[in-house]
Symmetry: C2
């Protein structure tokens, strides 16, 4: 079956489109009152992730409101460590907490790579429900966290400004960290292939904490494992190609090596200049991004102006997927998203003659 609105897929593969596709990181989220209602119904965030019907519902909510060019399955990057038995819990206003963080060889040695067909069916079931509901109108994006990013939370046990514990392991016990990252890569390959088999049309890797690594450490401890994952993915599925997006927050200084990782597109945060980024990657990959999420606090006319400027900064031709440079903030007015999406579609047409 072909997807009716395939702008996203075409842009990711650098094929001509009629308008620049747009979707928004965390588009299914707290800024929507209907999301907050379902979350309340679910009791907590993890229950929401783990109940396919509810995950499907919140995935579709932004699609009903806005003419977005993609849906992204509602889930969390920490599903894999949760399936590994680390005891995930989301403390209200505090973010993720693991009851059993990894602190020694024994804990890492005994980690078992979860079989998605057993431990993660709630994700693949939600994907199947969403695919059915979307009825091939727009593509569905699946995702996972990068091994380094998962390792950060699993070792530290919770969010952190500098993730000192994983960094300690990196410098003092690099072999142990590599062992963990290898396990996480294998688990992620199985997980994303299960998502692909369940129907996702695009896959994205979220490397939220890659930008905390030193210049020489990033390629070894984060990018390398994302490359391993990309190599392991079944990207040819029933005759169609599944494009892969790689997003390292704070990754603007590594664009040339990210472009060579085998990904189809690089996600850019808002601190990177998309014109210079396009020059650096030389048309070898598509670029996704990269409006400052805080711009959605601005008045509509300012949002429109900034959308126009970003479209102009990328310039003519295919290979741009419009997005924020990071997830949408929970206190944004949904009306601003409407303004953004319409502006992208309206003002991008001139760049695709």
């Amino acid at each position: 079956m072909t997807i009716k609105n395939d702008r996203l897929i075409r842009a990711l593969l650098r094929q001509p489109v009629d308008a620049t596709p747009v979707w928004i990181m965390r588009q299914a989220g707290r800024y929507l009152p209907e999301y907050r209602q379902v979350r309340k119904q679910a009791g907590n965030f993890l229950n929401l992730c783990k109940t396919p019907e509810l995950a499907c519902e919140v995935t579709l909510q932004p699609i009903r409101r806005f003419p977005l060019d993609a849906a992204i399955i509602f889930s969390d990057i920490l599903t894999i460590p949760e399936a590994m038995g680390l005891g995930l819990h989301f403390a209200e206003g505090e973010g993720p907490v693991f009851a059993h963080p990894l602190r020694d060889h024994t804990a890492i040695d005994k980690l078992i790579i979860p079989n998605p067909a057993e431990a993660l069916t709630y994700v693949t079931d939600a994907i199947k429900l969403v695919k059915h509901e979307l009825a091939e109108q727009i593509p569905l994006i699946g995702f996972a966290g990068s091994p380094w990013t998962l390792a950060c939370y699993m070792i530290e046990g919770h969010g952190s400004k500098n993730f000192a514990l994983p960094k300690k392991m990196l410098y003092n016990e690099p072999t142990l960290l590599h062992k963990l990252l290898t396990k996480l890569s294998k688990a992620t390959i199985l997980y994303l292939n299960a998502q692909i088999a369940a129907g996702v049309d695009v896959v994205m890797l979220f490397d939220t904490w890659g930008g905390l690594l030193g210049y020489n450490e990033y390629p070894q401890f984060s990018l390398h494992y994302m490359q391993e994952i990309i190599k392991g993915l079944n990207v040819s599925q029933s005759g169609k190609k599944i494009p892969v997006i790689l997003f390292t927050k704070g990754g603007g200084q590594w664009l040339p090596i990210i472009a060579n990782s085998g990904c189809d597109a690089i996600g850019l945060d808002w601190t990177t200049n998309i014109t210079l980024a396009r020059q650096q990657v030389g048309g070898s990959v598509a670029l996704q991004g990269n409006l400052d999420p805080c711009l959605l606090y601005a008045k509509p006319d300012k949002i429109v102006t900034e959308v126009q400027e970003l479209l102009a900064a990328f310039g003519k031709g295919p290979g741009h997927i419009f997005n924020l440079g990071h997830g949408i903030n929970p206190d944004v007015d949904p009306e601003c998203v409407s303004v953004l999406v319409d502006a992208v579609h309206t003002y991008s047409k001139v760049y695709h003659p």
Copy 2:
């Protein structure tokens, strides 16, 4: 009077040295047991800053332990907003909190630029004490926060992951934000000139949150005001030149424009490659940095290897000041600092033939 060990000054001015100078951001700080004792004696962090004898004592503590090539006056970047009457308080384990954050035109309009000779004598008095104690053995660094960084705390009221409130003002009321930044620049010029008059030999601007700005916003909302400050400084003092270091955390994508700001040196965080940075600035400024602060959790031989690699990455010739890429973490073993400082002096000699 000439400074006996003038490696830092010479390196900042890209003049030949016998070995690469080294100092450490937050070298007077919590990782030292003798610091924790004085802080306890002071009651709280702000009292410590405001008591010249104690600020002098903690400034000198790392100098007694390690053969560092500079002292940096013990103080805080938030002295200016404190002097403006925002009611600064340091909550234990929480960081700075302002009792009266800036939330509207009225609050910003009524801000008065503090006269350092009245409101900030505790800093200049501490500088005079330290200068006396140092007896021109090594130079003393004075510092201030960048206007954008101060504005972040003053508007938000406390630390934050994304400083949404100052960002809101940036996009919705840029004129109001510019008014605040202009006031802060003027206040900082007076403050740093008072520090220079009191005896500091080098001045550093800490732009901790410049890296949160969008690619196009950084030059207008952060760098511009640091340039204004540099223009306003009395950098020629009794026949000697006061070099200026500008440090934007997360600023690696703006190095060419930072190099043109009028500063003498750019501080680099650990995510930037110093070899590429040197190529980009083309010898127009010195470079300071940029070891990952978490490397001080490593074993001594690893620290030595990484010091050697960083020295090699900068390469031959003058213009490198060794430092971490951010402040030292409070749980680092002081012995590791000793290893670091000795390694820099020992292994840098070959690069200064």
